[in-house]
Amino acid sequence: MKPLVIAGHTFHSRLFIGTGKFGSHETMRQAIEASGCELVTIALRRVDLDKNPEGDALISKLDSEKIVVVPNTSGARTAEEAIRIARLARAAGGFTWVKLELTPNLHHLLPDPIETLKAAEVLVKEGFHVLPYINADPVLAKRLEEVGTAAVMPLAAPIGTNLGLRSIDMLSIIVANARIPVVVDAGLGMPSHAAAAIELGADCVLINTAIAAAADPVGMAKAFAKAVQAAEEGMAAGPRAPRSTADASSPLTGFLWEK
């Protein structure tokens, strides 16, 4: 496979990790390090002025020399809210990457395609490297590519569900048509799901819940890294296409009972 390049940055690992839900910052740090992951997502929230005015130490645990840190716009319900969050992230930490995440319904957390496209247009013009989280919609993926997003991040299944590649047929169409990297995001629960996404032709996967909420997050991060690596190597080695009839592996001649 050709190297993964997003917004001019070359990534050596096709596994991206979300930093939510980890039991501790130290576990998160170890999981990231053990996996070799080079891009993580983070979120923006109000400082808790009563309980913790000193703030969350998350950022200090992320080595921005080695890792691309991408704030998300989680919680935003409209393009306006997402744009506001992206601008705040840039003001707070100089972050120029943004994962556009617009989920108006807290029950299914599915992304709003119209608001996402609107926000992408504005943020691309403002110089952000925009990574939009979208439903596995090939038409929307193309429209986002046309407005200049750095990649598209179609979902495998709803966030945090661990269901695996439920959107597989639509993902195949996205992958076949995309001229920008495709990052399969959300819903991947097992390392085999991540491998299947890469084998499908996706450039990369983003995992959060499946790693962070595992009994052993560091072990699970390593397992996902291996699965993604195995799939990448398998793809590079030139897999044969499936066929509908048998093709014998053993010779069909020289049987003992032949006369």
Binding site: G18, T19, G20, K21, F22, H25, M28, T41, I42, A43, L44, R45, R46, V47, L49, P53, E54, G55, D56, L58, I59, S60, P71, N72, S74, R87, L88, A89, A91, A92, G93, I159, A186, L206, N208, T209, A212
Partner: protein
């Protein structure tokens, strides 16, 4: 004076500028963003940004997220 900070109404004795407000609140977050009445204020301008009664202030930090 009364200010709305992170959505909550709070009373302060006397606050002249944004830097003073953050100090009073005990906010020492390394990387954070501040909005004053919907406008982002760069950290270099905190001390030079006056605060007046009824201002709305948002103090934002980074947390874990997917």
């Amino acid at each position: 004076m009364t200010l709305t900070v992170n959505g909550q109404s709070r009373s302060f004795a006397a606050i002249d500028n944004l830097a003073q407000l953050l100090e009073t609140l005990g906010v020492t977050v390394g990387k954070m963003a501040v909005e004053l009445n919907g406008r982002i204020i760069p950290s270099s301008a905190f001390a030079a940004t006056p605060i007046t009664a009824d201002d709305q202030i948002e103090i934002i930090q980074f947390v874990g997220g997917g």
